[in-house]
Point group: C2
Chain length 479, copies 2
Amino acid sequence: MAKDKKLVEAITSMDVDFAQWYTDVVKKAELMDYSSVRGCMIFKPAGYALWENIQRELDRRFKETGVENVYMPMFIPESLLEVEKDHVEGFAPEVTWVTHGGMNELQERLCVRPTSETLFCDFYKNDIESYRDLPKLYNQWCSVVRWEKETRPFLRSREFLWQEGHTAHATTEEAEERTIQMLNLYADFVEEFLAIPVIRGQKTEKEKFAGAKDTYTIEALMHDGKALQSGTSHNFGDGFAKAFGIQYTDKDNQLKYVHQTSWGMTTRLIGALIMVHGDDSGLVLPPAVAPTQVMVIPVQQRKEGVMEACAALKDRLTTVCRAKLDDSDKSPGWKYSEQEMRGIPLRIELGPRDIAENHCVAVRRDTREKIVIALDEVETVLPQLLDQIQKDMFERAKAHRDSHIYDAHDYQEFCEIVNTKPGYIRGMWCGDRACEDKIKEETGATSRCMPFDDQEQISATCVCCGKPAKKLVYWGRAY
Amino acid sequence: MAKDKKLVEAITSMDVDFAQWYTDVVKKAELMDYSSVRGCMIFKPAGYALWENIQRELDRRFKETGVENVYMPMFIPESLLEVEKDHVEGFAPEVTWVTHGGMNELQERLCVRPTSETLFCDFYKNDIESYRDLPKLYNQWCSVVRWEKETRPFLRSREFLWQEGHTAHATTEEAEERTIQMLNLYADFVEEFLAIPVIRGQKTEKEKFAGAKDTYTIEALMHDGKALQSGTSHNFGDGFAKAFGIQYTDKDNQLKYVHQTSWGMTTRLIGALIMVHGDDSGLVLPPAVAPTQVMVIPVQQRKEGVMEACAALKDRLTTVCRAKLDDSDKSPGWKYSEQEMRGIPLRIELGPRDIAENHCVAVRRDTREKIVIALDEVETVLPQLLDQIQKDMFERAKAHRDSHIYDAHDYQEFCEIVNTKPGYIRGMWCGDRACEDKIKEETGATSRCMPFDDQEQISATCVCCGKPAKKLVYWGRAY
């Protein structure tokens, strides 16, 4: 039994040191490894399989709204990056520069894309001529590079995987509609597929994307009470179009600038999955995204007929879910502990006595509840059980999130909460950048968003300066 | 009608200038565009959709053999690239170097991966301990960069998309078996999915991959008689393992070096599709890989009931194939010409008279044959027709390939053939590098492979030097 506990003992308890718990889980669940380039990570099979499932589902949802995939080069000439002033200011400090190709120095430096607005604009400039060419609804799946100083697996790495959508529209209304449509698509995806509740809202001027007119965000709350920006959607208005000269001839024969959007989601969603659902035994994956949903584990596997019965059960299960059989020669206890560490939503224990009684025992990863299931009913019961787990995990995360939202009516109260109660702080804001700066500097909290669905006026004055308030803001420390 | 012909007239005839025809087709079929970085291309939706279909099918076949996907960083530290001597010599002349991250010069230059052997080795060194960890069957989908001087859309670009598989095994036999398994998987995929016949064989020492013990290849013949290397599979033996120190403890408790393989396929397959199947009206896509398999085109679409009947037909077709309806306000002739340019395997014409007679007219892209189909039989007839097109396209390409294989018994005959008959030349070889070099320098032909399935001894002496011959080689000019 000592050996069986090794895996769990290898990780720090989340209540003792959440950051260390996180680092332990990503390693012990074999999601990633560190590479020889500091800040760049290796996605191991279990980690990449999560990204593949996220990709497949998001891509399906994108295409349902008319989005098409393309691929732009990974290099941006320095002069192209510099065309839009705000954009280059936002990104230049953290880009990497290619200076040599083969044996020769390049005539112009190329940066490895930190994001591809400039490449899409350069392309749209030539590709769009008439209103008939609009809208353009393009997306690409790729990796981008931002040379960050502090990094953390999945949450912030120097190279990360993402999708970036870039659209061009005839009117400002259409662009705004698409911006909101994609934000809602993101929110639905994260809630339905990852079982993570999110708050939808708008970023302040300070927090918006470099070059955007408006940035919208979905914010999730991690188990430790810190926020994680989980997806953003930007309306560029015609700012980039004017900088790059992207014009089209409208029906009225007038030359007009296009209106653009962009929107992105990254591999940090994997970090969110870990930090929202995980526990002291490791990962806990929602069934929808789990690469393996059910692990069949034989009990007394050397007894006659056990392995055969387990294999037959697994074969039946693969017709209704993603099931595997652990037929290795490890002990059942060790297998349980591995299944728990990897976050597989259900395990099925099947031994001689179960076979004799014509049932199996399902154990939920999220609640550890044991459920006895008649063997001839597994094809109907298991999928229902997986659905139930998905729903329960969302409700549990939502209850946790909702119980970590606090109201602050003045600065003293704000500071008290921020230091004692991890979570979101609802606080009114005057609209001044100075207050955001002060709050960030003195408390470490940032404005997460001005929520769409919560417009309550919880006080008349700014939680920071006491002047008349304009907007409700969700504040919090964030990853 | 003048306008209807515009699309076709915009491309050069393949017999007049094959290279120009190719360039015209990739542009007019909207597969790609040029980017602001010379030699780096933009994959437009029609081009990327081909890659997505290739990816989906290849990935499925990989996973059936136990392969798992991972993702390695795109950067390789200079010192890591230099660990294996032959490898760095092969790639150093064409890599790009990142020298600055953010505002600072890097302590060590990083190259953007031209291929990832060194990264996988660096990872395996730590990840593999025991025979229980073997085999490792990893693959990644990514882009790589090789700073080539001359580039061409899809065939040779400075950045291209590919997959690279990297495996590690306990024994040399297992590694060889996997190398051949993947080569056969590639060959079957290209023949079955892309309808392109290939010749499987081994590369000579001169042509093998930098650092490999043996390189195997599949070679395809383009319409103009030039060869295209379409996929390669390498057996590294324990060369990389010794350079990087990748050892495992075997069952006998001895420390042993692993044996490795790698294998890759790239977006140049799209170039192969174009150059094997295309004609003077544009692309011709095999149904299996075609993003749209059937385009429904209304005739006299303003007449009552026509558009509704076309939409209903298209809805029925989408249950059995990838069908679309062209309901734009262009003329039918223009739509036909677009469907042809884009290589959509079948178009369905449906007008008032067809509706009255309860049939529709299918027109094959590959043969232009018109087939009248009863409307209540489309769900059964169309899939059969698509299968037939797939088979016919393969047979046609195979007949073309087989009629372009010539035997040369001495150097004079070789030179005559190479200058008058584009295609493969079968010629015996003594095994000396000098003969390969001479043939390449004087004729432009290279050794494509030593074929597996053709061991005929067509003469006793080397086609170049006249000394005793060892091996039959397929020679040819290549892309």
